[in-house]
Homo-oligomer: 198 residues x 2
DNA sequence: GTCTATAAATCGATAGAC
DNA sequence: GTCTATCGATTTATAGAC
């Protein structure tokens, strides 16, 4: 599908490159950064280990490439902010479930969550997930004590993600999305709008 | 401090052995199993790497030794069950905070949580934390749809632990225990006793 | 583009001297 | 009990042939 015939060939066959990236995403999501070897990525993709370096460079570069998400967090969260604080709990839950139930997005998100415990990824979730994703929501909704409220919200969302998608604990993992939403929406709504203890 | 003079010397000087174990617990809690090397444990303890094997055998044995907790989960949870379902939310929160705010216990618990993402430790938390710690609570309180309710409870407790003790997200990490308890107790109480969506 | 061969570093584990 | 020396296995990464 190359659109240019001129000199300077595009680096790598698209099929092989995509196969390596898919294999890497799955293994990083399942075993984390340290638990995944270049050899395992190459083996599952059916190519030579040297090709992985040829296409993606060092192991860390491959990891970063596997973390690329196909959604813009700010764009996804914008409707939640726009809809106002009165229904923020349910709206946020709908967004979370919709993003995480997308199998392709989920692999990248799982790799990110797993990466938290390997690298200095603590910052990636603390500054990324909270600062970029949930921080603007708290400010956009005009909450009082926004930092506290959003941390409470984050703790419930993160715990749900861990049990449903990472640890796959039943009956939560197999629960229909609607039931999950209607269960957790009141909790989040409480953190958004209820009076906070002093 | 040896109490026996007879033959068969006790294996290892208590000081050195304890130093290795403390170093291992801290590193396992901070970097997980794969991220911790025998050499790093020995270096931080100020001893030779060979001594680690001498005292604890293989690396997995050292990891298991570092996971030893000084509390019996069933014993800690018994009062929560005995106090009844009407105050289970607050009582459970008190237990969680008391155990996790103990610095010595926390290191072992952190090592366990970190270990989840290395080994097949998924089972250790899924069957251990849920099956042993929270499972009996749900049954002991005589809840209807106990499995669902306890998974909801677990998701909030686990998320709180992750943000407060593992990721150390502010302002939750520095929040006084009483404020944390009074914030999350109503949420847990709701999962215990509120009507569940169908 | 793909693969062989190998360099270079790291780690777990053991044997054995003191 | 403690440490030196080292083996053997893995892994990342590179150089270069085809």
């Amino acid at each position: 599908m190359s659109t240019s015939r001129g000199p300077g060939r595009r680096p790598g066959s698209p099929d092989t490159r995509a196969a390596i990236l898919d294999s890497a995403r799955g293994l990083f999501a399942e075993r984390g950064l340290k638990g995944t070897t270049i050899r395992a990525v190459a083996s599952e993709a059916g190519v030579d280990p040297a090709l992985v370096h040829h296409y993606f460079g060092a192991k860390d570069d491959l990891f970063l490439a596997a973390l690329e998400i196909k959604v813009d967090p700010r764009q996804v969260m914008a409707p939640v902010i726009a809809a106002g604080v009165e229904a923020a709990g349910e709206n946020l839950m709908r967004v979370v479930l919709r993003v995480w139930d997308d199998p392709e997005i989920r692999l990248s998100l799982l790799a990110i969550v797993r990466g938290v415990f390997d690298r200095e990824g603590q910052r990636m979730v603390r500054d990324g997930f909270l600062g970029i994703v949930l921080g603007p929501v708290g400010r956009g909704l005009g909450l009082d004590r926004a930092d506290e409220r959003m941390v409470f919200v984050a703790s419930q969302v993160f715990g749900l993600i861990m049990l449903r998608y990472v640890l796959e604990v039943e009956p939560l993992a197999s629960m229909p999305a609607d039931l999950v939403i209607s269960t957790y929406a009141p909790t989040l709504q409480g953190y958004f709008t209820d009076d906070l203890p002093s």
